[in-house]
Every structure is written in structure tokens, then in C-alpha cells.
Homo-oligomer: 194 residues x 2
């Protein structure tokens, strides 16, 4: 049962290990050496595939954006009883709640390299999906009116800020209030209604 010298598909195995560590132990535990340990290789094995740490984190974040985009797409295709923008907002917050560490990794650009094609494409697709959920400018869809632009940025900002504050525990006190009774979706609806 000796592992062969060449792994076969080490990049995929490393990304899988990184994802597991990120989910189970959080962002601070996501180190290069820990990933290599979990994948059962030496701590310098990732180098030929990902370069340095930011390389691995960026590829992992690209995968995260892929899942994120899937979530947004599904919410927009099947908004249920909600409007499309509201459904998108709930999907956004739900992703941040389900995968908080991944969400933080994705929106913490300091350790990420957006020069990587995979990450750049996935992140661009995410913003495209977020902008799509808004009523387009009829005359020229490529050049949105200031009002449309403001609505897009405003919508994104509310949802992103809500998710960030929520993950950071800043809304815990408010969530405990009897008005929402710990119901995050209800509080989000209240916030969106303003």
C-alpha cells in the first residue's frame, strides 16, 4: 500500500485537502504545510503546481466562487415566492452562513492573486450574476443609468455588509432581540425592506 512517488493528480488532492481544512478548522488553520500533511506529501510538493501560498489559496477561492455562483444561479432561476433580487440576497447570505471560512477567503483579497485566470474569471462571473439580478437598462444594457448603477451597488453592499457583520458576530445582539427571534432570514428581509 505504498503510495507511488508520483501522486497522479496532486493538485486536485491538495485542493480537496485545503477545502476540508478550511471547512473544519477555519481560515487561520489553512496553511501550506497543513494541506501537504493532510494530502500525505512533503510540504514542498505543492510548489510545482501552485507556486506559493497565494497560488493555492487563489485556486481554492476560485472553486469557492464556482459554488457561490451555482448558488446564486439556482436562486435566480428558482426564486420561489420571492423576487429575484431578494432571492439572490438570501442565497448570498445563506452561502456566507454555510461556508463562512470560504466566504472570508473569497472576500479577503490580500492573500489572493486575482491575476490567476481561474480566480479572475470566477470572481467576474459572480459580479455579473449579482448585477444581472437587477432590472437592466432598456435602451443600452451595457451602459447602465446612474440609478441602475446605484441600485446594483446598493443591493450588493447591503447583502455583503449584512453577511460580513453576521459572520463577524456583530449582529448577534440584534438577532437575540424578540423582533426577529434569532431568525436570520427574517432580519435580512427587514433590512432589505428599508
Amino acid at each position: 500500500m505504498k503510495r507511488p512517488y508520483h501522486h497522479g493528480d496532486l493538485p486536485a488532492a491538495l485542493l480537496r485537502a485545503a477545502g476540508e481544512i478550511l471547512r473544519s478548522e477555519g481560515l487561520p488553520a489553512l496553511t501550506l504545510r497543513a494541506v501537504a500533511r493532510r494530502a500525505g506529501v512533503s510540504h514542498m510538493a505543492p510548489a510545482p503546481h501552485f507556486g506559493d501560498l497565494s497560488g493555492l489559496l487563489s485556486e481554492l477561492a476560485a472553486i469557492g466562487y464556482g459554488l457561490f455562483n451555482d448558488t446564486l444561479r439556482q436562486a435566480q432561476d428558482h426564486p420561489g415566492h420571492r423576487s429575484v433580487p431578494t432571492a439572490t440576497a438570501h442565497a448570498y447570505v445563506a452561502f456566507a452562513r454555510t461556508e463562512p471560512a470560504m466566504f472570508l477567503l473569497m472576500f479577503r483579497s490580500e492573500r489572493l492573486d486575482f491575476g490567476r485566470p481561474a480566480l479572475a474569471a470566477a470572481a467576474a462571473e459572480a459580479t455579473r450574476l449579482l448585477m444581472r439580478s437587477l432590472p437592466a437598462n432598456a435602451s443600452k444594457p451595457d451602459v447602465p443609468s446612474p440609478a441602475t448603477l446605484g441600485r446594483a451597488v446598493g443591493q450588493w453592499s447591503v447583502v455583503h455588509g449584512f453577511a460580513m457583520l453576521l459572520i463577524d458576530g456583530r449582529l448577534d445582539g440584534i438577532l437575540a432581540a424578540p423582533e426577529c427571534d434569532g431568525d436570520v432570514d427574517r432580519l435580512l428581509d427587514l433590512a432589505l425592506a428599508s
Copy 2:
């Protein structure tokens, strides 16, 4: 010109050095050893005063919240041509733009210890100021109506999300568009108008 063995007021000197490093070199450069180096003491000198790293970061964040609260207060007392909530929003974003590293430190609770009285008090005062900028519930100011609660959380979320996305560079593409022409305040006004 030999420095005495006992510094005199090492805690203040360390916090000053930490603030300088944070401003000039950013959050990742803010290490315990770097702070001690800049203050001219051994790297274990901070321990008796701040305990571990999170202690020093928390006290520095408390100072940051103090400046932040001053900014908010001044905007609310002298809103100028803007409404009080809008002036508060602009002050919020202006602080994040002027001191991005400090802003990130303050809203990155993972390395902070909110058990520290100074930090807990300063952060609580910040949320109080943010909630104050909204029309209070006339009948029972302590128990806000759901609509008021929603408006408070919504307002905070937009502004926080806008600031976070801005600092992270996520709005750079939109800012370059001709509608706002790089004017952050204008884009914020558009976002708030939605």
C-alpha cells in the same frame, strides 16, 4: 542617551508604534516583534502589559474605535447639507478609506478579544452611534419597531458592505465607469438612494 531599563510608559509607546506600523505597512506587518522593535524594546516586553498578541491588537482596535466614534459624532453633530443618516454613512466610508488597515483590524474579530473592557466599550459605543442616526421609535425608544430595526440594520449593512467592497477593490471596475468617474462619494450617494 542610554534608555533606562524601565521605559516609563511602555504601553502607550507600544500602541503608538503599533499604530504607525498599521498605517504605514498594513495589517499583515503588524506583528508583536515588529512593534517591540519599533519601540526599541525586546520582543517580550509587551507581554506584561498586553499579554499576548490579541491583547495588543484589541487595545489598538479600541483606540481605532475611539477615532471612529469621534468621526461619526462629528458627522452627526454637523451633518452640513446632508441628512444625519447620510452624513453618518459618508463619515463611515471616509474613515474606512482614510484608515483601511485600522478598519479591517476593527472588523476582523478573529484576532480580537472583545472580553477586554476598553474594546467592548468602544465597539458598543460605535453601534450606539450608528443606531442613533435613525429615527427613534417614539413610543418605546428601547424596544424598536421591526421597521426601525430593519432600517437600522439595513443602513449599517449598506454602509459596511460598501466600505468593505471598496477597501477590497471590488468596486474599482464600477468606479472607473463614466457615471461616477472615480468619485466615491457620488457612488455612495447613488447606492444609498436605492
